[in-house]
Amino acid sequence: MLLIYCPYCEEERSELEFRGAGDAHIARPANIADITDEEFEEYFFLRQNPKGLIFERWRHIHGCGRFFNAARDTVSDRFYTTYKAGEPKPDISAILQSEQDKGAAK
């Protein structure tokens, strides 16, 4: 079971409190009735499904109830970070670098 840090509650809680909500940073077209079938397919169905770094949405459904985003590795299932909805994609290489530096300092 995953342990997930809710950026609103500022607490790490068990996955049981959360509902996964799919890929993050997918903007719903504002003119949804006008777009072509190709554009709708791209928006609605096609996914990167990455092996490695994924940006995804979670909802703290049995807590504060809010949606937020996470950056996670889909091979190790490890979370790099979670961040509030509306914030830009975090720079994961910077997170990894700072961890490495900490490791080296030990």
Binding site: M1, L2, R47, N49, K51, T74, D77
Partner: protein
């Protein structure tokens, strides 16, 4: 290839079983093949076999990054049935079920297909209406499926608790008598042996890392950890890794990869006569010939390639099993594992051509593609050989996500298998 028979068993028994030999050859890869299949699961190996057997195409290689059958083929709970709702599904799953019935004879390899009946429990009015709709659709299409009262269900499967006071009361069940199970490993090995015998190269520990195209965009081969291998046609049959491979050809697909878990108990004497599934409480169970209870759980809610899932998913399934079959409460579980399933939004598979000429796709079998192995492999071979889909698989195209002609088994049944 030596034919397996009762005489071969008797002869080997007298010789201390020293004369069996390898089931399939392990040749060095050629520079080029007519067809390369990526993925040595049942679907890929089967497609290679049918290419050789039914289409006379024998210059074929199956490239497998690990060992054959090490993916979902060797990790699934082996439920076989064909009582799906939509015609596109019934076509391919019933085609498959018919092939299962003769597969051991066809391959000269015992895949232990056991049509012991698959029973789906109905717990509420919604289940009942949905199952009866399935039963009617199936029977109109010539596929067996019947409604049982709780008493009839109990007679067919005595360990079932049908008490009105049960935690998950049962108001009936749907039964497909021709459904059942088969031995997963034997399916991979049987296809590998029969394909190898017809000249197909089975190359293990060979991971595809790139898909090469010429300046017109046509497929010309693949890069692997064992070097470049040329091919006129390439078929992808890589289950959970489909998105990764398709991205090597710059194609995004409507798939998500998620963990799905199963577990087995300690072996017990034969007590459980059929397969029982409960979609509403999400549990399914059967007893293997070794005596273990084979139990399937649900998918995790997030994408992952980890081949492991959350313990709470398994616990949830075991809770349900213990309620449905109180006599199993003290059975010990021995092993648990996960596989990575490739799930489409409509929970139906994709088989068809791709935007890349020469590249063919068989994917999206998700949580329920073991049962489809012979049928899917057979029709995938047809697709690769002819360049266009067989009538029975014509609706499973990748384009349906653009045209909107979905095959919405997701809404129809809630869970697969």
């Amino acid at each position: 290839m030596r034919k397996y028979s009762v005489f071969a068993v008797a002869r080997e028994a007298l010789r201390g079983h020293k004369g069996w030999g390898p089931h399939w050859a392990s040749p060095e890869p050629r520079k080029e093949y007519d067809v390369i299949i990526i993925g040595g699961g049942g679907h890929g190996l089967g497609a290679a076999y049918y290419l050789a057997k039914e289409h006379g195409i024998t210059n074929v290689a199956v490239l497998e990054k690990g060992w054959i059958g090490g993916g979902n083929t060797g990790r699934n709970t082996t439920i076989i049935r064909s009582n799906y709702l939509y015609e596109e599904s019934m076509d391919i799953y019933e085609h498959s079920l018919k092939l299962w019935e003769n597969l051991s004879q066809d391959l000269n390899y015992n895949v232990m297909y056991s049509p012991r009946g698959v029973m789906m429990l109905s717990h509420n009015i919604h289940d009942q209406q949905s199952f009866k709709r399935h039963i009617n659709a199936n029977r109109l299409y010539g596929i067996d499926n019947e409604w049982l009262t709780p008493e009839q269900a109990k007679a067919y499967c005595p360990p079932l608790d049908i008490a009105k006071t049960a935690r998950y009361p049962i108001n009936g069940a749907a039964l497909q008598r021709r459904g059942g199970t088969a031995r997963h490993d034997a399916v991979a090995w049987g296809y590998a042996r029969a394909a190898s015998d017809r000249g197909v190269h089975i190359i293990q520990n060979c991971e595809v890392t790139g898909i090469r195209r010429d300046e017109t965009g046509r497929v010309v081969g693949v890069d692997t950890n064992r070097g470049h291998i040329g091919a006129k046609k390439v078929g992808i049959s890589a289950a959970g890794h489909t998105s990764v491979l398709m991205q090597m050809a710059d194609v995004r697909v409507p798939l998500q990869s998620q963990p799905l878990q199963a577990l087995v108990s300690e072996p017990l004497k034969p007590i459980f006569p059929c397969v029982v599934m409960s979609n509403s409480v999400h549990a399914y169970i059967s007893q293997s010939d070794k005596g273990e209870f084979v139990i399937g759980a649900g998918t995790d809610q997030y994408n992952s390639y980890s081949q492991t899932g959350g313990l709470q998913i398994i616990t949830h399934t075991l809770d349900a099993i213990c309620e449905l079959f109180p006599m199993f409460r003290r059975v010990k579980m021995m092993r648990q594992w996960g596989g990575i399933v490739d799930v489409t939004q409509d929970r139906s598979p994709i088989q068809g051509v791709t935007p890349v000429p020469g590249l063919f796709l068989n994917a999206g079998w998700g949580t329920g593609g073991f049962k489809a192995t012979p049928g899917s492999a057979n029709l995938f071979a047809h697709l690769i050989a002819r360049g266009e889909p067989h009538r029975l698989a014509a609706g499973l195209t990748l384009e349906r996500f653009r045209t909107g002609r979905l095959i919405d088994e997701a809404a129809a049944a809630a869970v697969a298998h």
